[in-house]
């Protein structure tokens, strides 16, 4: 549950986080272009995109690490650009970088990280360290990358603010730790805290998030619930051929898109499956698998061209 002082600062109608037309450039490189996104209290939102899409930059604009060139960022009604210090009091932030002060122990780092937050919960932090199997008294320099990742997550949660912002939170975590973290984030969201995180782990995003937002070259190209996004993206079939196939041997339709090579191809389409099967029936097919409506399929559909 949110601590009383912060609970009182939040109006029920306020979004936890509001990005409006946020743009930022590093020199000549435009990293964010007119990003708008609203995250409600108690909502978990995942930011998805390939490397360089602008995910980390967007998260950094919330905590004053970068100042956006244009647009507004609000955290619990506070302008995070003009009043960065106040906005940061509402945010528990874990950067993607796990480099930490090597001479400190995990317990000392936790105490230092949350010392500036008015609603920090030190006891919660210690219990989460225990739960995730992080030794309290060991120096950070002697801990693995995964352990440091856990400490970063714990301090972000233990800060106690109404917004938790995590950059690549499940990177380097083993499956059990990942499940624990997901479960903890779910219960934090259930207590009214908003969670915004970036990730390349699409299955994790799908399991955890109420909504996902896809960033491409600094712009949000798609946002919504996993099922809704998959429905919008269309259907996908994975095909395995008996012999290697060239693109010009595959049937062409206006709304069809083939991806793959040799004997393995994927087909993005919007037609009824029966109609598609009737068209491809004459091809030397060894096997067909329905791609389903996963975020991975949405990702492939959105960024397939980028990879090519």
């Amino acid at each position: 549950m949110l601590n009383p002082p912060l609970r009182h600062t939040l109006m029920l109608t306020d979004p936890a986080v509001l990005f409006e037309n946020v743009s930022h450039a590093f020199g000549a490189q435009q990293v964010l272009q007119g990003v708008s996104l609203r995250i409600e209290q108690g909502e978990i939102v995942g930011l998805i995109g390939p490397n360089g899409a602008g995910k980390s930059t967007l998260l950094r604009s919330m905590v004053g690490i970068i100042r956006p060139d244009h647009g507004t960022v609000q955290v619990c009604g506070t302008d995070a650009v003009r009043n960065a210090l106040e906005a940061r009091r509402h945010i528990g932030y874990a950067p993607s970088e796990t480099a930490l002060y090597h001479q400190m122990t995990s317990e000392q780092l936790l105490a230092f990280a949350i010392a500036f937050h008015p609603s920090a919960d030190h006891a919660l932090g210690l219990s989460l360290l225990d739960k995730l199997g992080v030794p309290h008294a060991k120096r950070l320099g002697a801990l693995s990358h995964g352990m440091k990742r856990k400490i970063m997550l714990v301090q972000a949660i233990a800060c106690g603010g109404p917004v938790i912002v995590l950059d690549e939170p499940t990177e380097a975590l083993d499956p059990e730790a990942r499940r624990m973290v997901e479960s903890e984030l779910r219960s934090q969201a259930a207590a009214g805290r908003a969670v915004l995180f970036s990730s390349h782990d699409l299955t994790s995003v799908e399991r955890l998030c109420h909504r996902a937002a896809f960033l491409r070259r600094g712009t949000i190209v798609r946002a919504g619930g996993a099922a809704e996004l998959a429905a919008e993206t269309g259907r996908l079939l994975h095909l395995e051929f008996r012999v290697p196939m060239d693109r010009d041997q595959l049937p062409v339709h206006a709304a069809w898109r083939w991806q793959g090579q040799a004997t393995r191809w994927s087909l993005h389409h919007n037609d009824p499956v029966e109609k598609v099967l009737a068209v491809i029936a004459e091809l030397p097919i060894n096997g067909i698998r329905d791609g389903g409506g996963s975020l991975e399929e949405v990702f492939d559909a959105l960024y397939g061209g980028d990879a090519a």
């Binding site: 950094r60 690490i65 932030y93 950067p95 970088e97 002060y101 090597h102 230092f112 500036f116």
Partner: protein, 256 residues
């Protein structure tokens, strides 16, 4: 504020103690070497190749223990060891965060960059300056062992003047650290400036423009007779304030 101070001090405690021990050991050795030095000063003055160093020895020859002590403790000990200590401890005040990629973690906390810089600079200044005072005061008690006496007031005023000089170097290092991405770079620049300045002090004709001219034996001899160099101290403090203000401004604008 306490959390920032504690976190930063944790990395400085042993360095500061080490600096004090070196300063104190050099001072004790110098004090107990004094009787032998006093007897051989005329011969030593003839051996020294640089005019500026010959002048220092002439001052010792004429005025005795106070200029000798000033050279050993402040001109040599505090300035050279102090610069080394500042380079070791201060160059990383901000640059280390960039170097070790902890800047994003630190500056995403709800604490202003200005406060971080102020608290850390205060801790750094304390770590560099307390050994100057403690070792100088210890000399007041040690000097009777070689049949000499150091006046309390002059010793404290001289230490304060030295502290003003070192504070200028501290803020210069802080400024360099704020604009650097590598701790080593800031440290090397400040040590380089001091070495160049010392080399300049040894060249007659341009020696009066060296930083070391502001802390040479003549300055401390004036302090010894009650003439505190207020103007020079004011210049040190003004320069420190200006460099620190610039460092704050640059840190505020820096993206990570």
């Amino acid at each position: 504020m306490i959390a920032i101070a504690r976190q930063y001090a944790r990395g400085l405690i042993w360095l500061s103690l080490g600096y004090f021990i070196i300063l104190e050991a050099a001072l004790v050795a110098a004090i107990f070497y004094w009787p032998k030095f006093r007897d051989n000063t005329p011969a030593l003055a003839k051996l020294v190749p640089f005019q500026s160093l010959q002048d220092l020895l002439t001052a010792v020859q004429q005025s005795g223990y106070w200029p000798y002590f000033a050279i050993q403790q402040w001109f040599k000990g505090c300035s050279l060891f102090g610069v080394a200590a500042i380079a070791f401890m201060g160059s990383g005040i901000i640059a280390r965060e960039a170097d070790q990629r902890t800047a994003e973690f630190l500056f995403s906390r709800p604490v202003s960059r200005r406060k971080v810089l102020r608290v850390r600079t205060a801790v750094l200044s304390f770590a560099v300056l307390w050994p100057v005072y403690v070792s100088s005061i210890s000399a007041i008690w040690l000097s009777p062992a070689v049949d000499e006496a150091l006046p309390w007031a002059a010793t404290l005023w001289a230490s304060t003047y030295m502290a003003c000089f070192l504070l200028t170097l501290i803020t210069a290092t802080v400024l360099l650290s704020v604009i650097s991405t590598h701790q080593m770079r800031a440290g090397i620049i400040i040590v380089g400036i001091i070495l160049l300045s010392f080399a300049q002090y040894l060249i007659q004709g341009i020696d009066q423009w060296s930083l070391f001219a502001t802390i040479d034996v003549w300055t401390f001899m004036r302090i010894g007779v009650g003439e505190y160099p207020w103007m020079a101290s004011g210049c040190f403090l003004t320069a420190s304030a200006a460099m620190f203000a610039l460092a704050e401004l640059l840190l505020k604008r820096r993206n990570w």
